[in-house]
Amino acid sequence: MESRSLTYMKPLESIHQAVRGTDDGPGGEEELVPADAGVEDVCPSEIETVAELLEPFAEDKESVIPALQEIQEEYGYLPRFAMQLVAEHAGTSLAHVYGTASFYSQFYLEPRGEYTIKVCTGTACHVKGADEISAGFRDELDVDLEEVTDDGQFSISHVRCIGACSLAPAVMVGDQVHGNVTEEKITAIVDEYADGQREVGGQ
């Protein structure tokens, strides 16, 4: 995993202070925290946060997926140190946790934008021009698929059917579905979320 700049990630603010095992933070200069920072790299308070998230789950391998989902809900992706803690909690290896996480398309091992615009590429949306819609969002935000915009606000993903086929083409932001999207509507949809104006559940 390549190290990446994470300073823009909201939840990462705390990690950023936590890095290198100190609660004081790196001082005036913003230091970058890589997604693959391990438990030894983050401060105790960060570990505590994850430990609290893990508490309700049985100390068993069957908790791995729900625990990862909870962590991703908090961080927007799965930082390495958190996966290590999941492995410890579930009594399994990091390799097993990583193997599980990397199998499923909804787990992200890299940070995401605050909002992920999920462009549906299911059959009905495909037939109704999902490719153009996806290209339109990429143009609008000037990023590629699975990339994060410079301001950390948006990423774009493709998903296989969100079940809004009668409203094709559709996109989903958080838990909100936008139907009958046209290229003209793209700017308006982005503006709706820009600068954290709109609260959304989910990822």
Binding site: S63, Q106, G122, T123, A124, V127, C161, L167, G179
Partner: protein
């Protein structure tokens, strides 16, 4: 809603009289004696703006004593959303379509005045004891979209509040469970389901009662039930809508099965892409636990059953039962060879029965109305109805429930209202595992066997209508692209076979097809079908095989003539993906290019710059060759 939730909290439902008192409350809430405005708030409605409409009604009618505002699920006619039904105290109702915020404001005003408009109407219907409609609106059974439908599974959708247990009970809910628990031996319940001819609605079509009998016959100390709500087939959303609109029905089905088979713990494995379905299911489970309809003493019978939600994490292959179980166990969702089958060794190696959402939702009705009634609805081999999500190039998109045995053309032309303009070409059923029912077989009655005979399959219920503008090769390419992404990679026939097939299809749609491609596709398809580990790989070539059978000439047109007859895929964009442009500043208007153009796509006055009509251009490149100044630019 709030009032009801409080009401349910501190009570238990232990016998028939408790159910009956809930039933009375539900009837009061369904038909409150004043005008009721019901806003359809499932995903489709919300995406179309139903939340805003709901808010408007709440605000505008807050001080109106003669009206209440309620929530409901999906009426199925998704492209007319937001749908709002106004039920008058006498039981007459009008369903309005396209009720966005502005329309809602006007409608709220009309409701407050007690003067319902007769425009913007989808249909009217009669509730409760109403016998005739005094408004000049068509009734549901007169609207083509609903006329051929028979709603068993969707009977409560768009009628009850999906979060109201009382309203569900008022529609007969949990009386089936009560009957099963008090009047039947577990074995008799299994027999009833067998006699009903109910078959798996997830697509496989295995007789549900037989499945149950395998689990019932296993005397292990711990047995599990699973509800498969991992609706991964792109283009299908029946299960999502059902969970959003009538979650209690699905759970009641599972409760009845738990009694019949002796399972004590259940799981609902639901896609994480369905947040609203998860929310309503969670609410339903919490409510049922609090009143004692889930837990150690279900309906006071001593029977124990509890239910837990497991959220999927995005993997199509998890719709396969062994992969699904691996995922519930928090492993990678990879299938394993069968046998052993789940009723022998399933979840955590314990006997397990898996059914799909829609299958479960049928069960309460079978118990309440009898196996014979249910069997009579469908065909000789399969009882009941099937819900389809009809989308694509069709006028009326939405959820459609028709008796099994209904001809494909009835769904497309009567319910669906025909294509959006182009000539009807076929219907894709069964998603990436299915195939095409072409126009010439449109009279085929829908059933598990008939669709398989045509080279397609029932699948979970996606039905994508295609007109002449759909390229069949490209459609296959789309599904193979999907399967390449979703193949779990465990077995080589699927891992390599999907990729190889996709490459050939991409070549054909790019104009690089070769004569041997058709044979290669066929041979790959045979190998994958014979040797793949699970259903995903075995059926992945189906879209190719099916389109080869009915539209082989389309493949050949791509390969031999480098043309897409549908004008759809990259070849069909007419220019082989290339754009030609004459540099205006340098063109001297010699007209050579226009003479060379075989389709007269170039125009321009003598000695004036010429230009190419991109709509007409077929990208043959002859103009560029003819240009003496070499000023025709090629892109792509």
């Amino acid at each position: 809603m709030t009032a009801l939730a409080e009401l349910v909290e501190d009570r238990t439902v232990r016998d028939r009289s408790d159910l009956e008192s809930l039933e009375r409350e539900g009837l009061d809430s369904l038909y409150p004696g004043v005008t009721k405005v019901l806003v359809g708030l499932s995903s489709c409605g919300r995406a179309a703006g139903a939340d805003d409409a709901y808010e408007v009604f709440q605000q505008e009618l807050a001080d109106v004593d003669e009206a209440v505002v309620g929530r409901t699920g999906c009426l199925g006619f998704c492209d007319r959303e937001p749908l709002v039904e106004v039920v008058e105290p006498n039981g007459e109702s009008i369903v309005y379509e396209g009720v966005t915020e502005d329309v809602a404001r006007k409608l709220a005003d009309a409701v407050a005045r007690g003067d319902l408009p007769e425009t913007g109407v989808l249909a009217g219907r009669l509730h409760h004891e109403a016998r005739q409609h005094s408004h000049d609106v068509p009734l549901f059974e007169e609207v083509p979209f609903y006329a051929a439908q028979e709603r068993i599974v969707l009977r409560n959708s768009g009628l009850i509040d999906p979060e109201s247990l009382a309203e569900y009970v008022a529609r007969g809910g949990f009386f089936g469970l009560h009957e099963a628990l008090t009047e039947y031996e577990p074995g008799e319940v299994v027999e009833a389901v067998q006699a009903s001819n109910l078959r798996g609605r997830g697509g496989g079509g295995f007789p549900t009662g037989d499945k149950w009998s395998f689990l019932a016959g296993n005397d292990a100390d711990q047995k599990y039930l699973i509800c498969n709500a991992d609706e991964g087939d792109p283009g299908a959303y029946m299960d999502r809508t059902l969970l959003e609109s009538d979650p209690f029905a699905v759970i009641e089905g599972m409760l009845i099965a738990s009694y019949a088979t002796g399972a004590t713990q259940g799981y609902v494995y639901v896609r994480a892409e369905y947040p609203l379905a998860i929310e309503r299911l969670e609410h339903a489970i919490d409510t049922l636990r609090s009143v004692g309809l889930l837990g150690t003493d279900v309906l006071g019978s001593g029977h124990a059953f509890d239910l837990e939600i497991k959220k999927g994490a995005g993997a199509f292959v998890c719709g396969e039962e062994t992969a699904l179980m691996a995922s519930v166990e928090s492993e990678r969702g990879m299938p394993r060879p069968r046998p052993p089958y789940p009723p022998q060794s399933g979840l955590w190696a314990k006997p397990t029965n898996i059914n799909n959402v829609e299958t479960w939702a049928n069960v309460p009705q079978i118990v309440r109305k009898g196996a014979d009634w249910f069997a009579d609805v469908g065909t000789e081999n399969s009882g009941g109805t099937k819900v389809f999500s009809v989308t694509g190039d069709v006028r009326n998109t939405g959820l459609v429930e028709v008796p099994l045995g209904t001809p494909v053309e009835t769904v497309v032309f009567e319910v669906g209202g025909g294509t959006t303009g182009g000539e009807f070409k076929g219907v894709q059923t069964g998603g990436p595992s299915g195939g095409v029912v072409p126009e010439e077989h449109a009279d085929t009655p829908i059933d598990y066997e008939t669709l398989v005979e045509l080279g397609s399959m029932m699948g979970s219920g996606g039905m994508i209508v295609m007109d002449e503008s759909t390229c069949m090769v490209d459609q296959s390419r789309f599904f193979l692209d999907f399967c390449v992404d979703e193949s779990c990679g465990k077995c080589p026939p699927c891992r390599y076979g999907t990729k190889q097939t996709l490459q050939i299809l991409e070549g054909i749609t790019n104009g690089e097809g070769e004569a041997g491609d058709i044979d290669a596709l066929q041979s790959l398809a045979d190998t994958m079908a014979d040797t793949s580990l699970c259903g995903l790989g075995q059926t992945a070539p189906n879209p190719v095989v099916s389109t080869l059978e009915y539209f082989e000439e389309e493949y050949w047109a791509h390969i031999e003539d480098e043309e897409c007859p549908a004008g759809d895929c990259e070849l069909g964009s007419g220019t082989h993906g290339k754009t030609y442009k004459i540099l205006q500043e340098e063109c001297v208007g010699c007209h050579q290019c226009a003479k060379a153009c075989p389709v007269d796509a170039i125009a321009g006055e003598h000695q004036e710059p010429h230009s190419i009509d991109p709509e007409a251009c077929i990208g043959c490149g002859q103009c560029a060759e003819a240009c003496p100044l070499d000023i025709i630019e090629v892109r792509g």
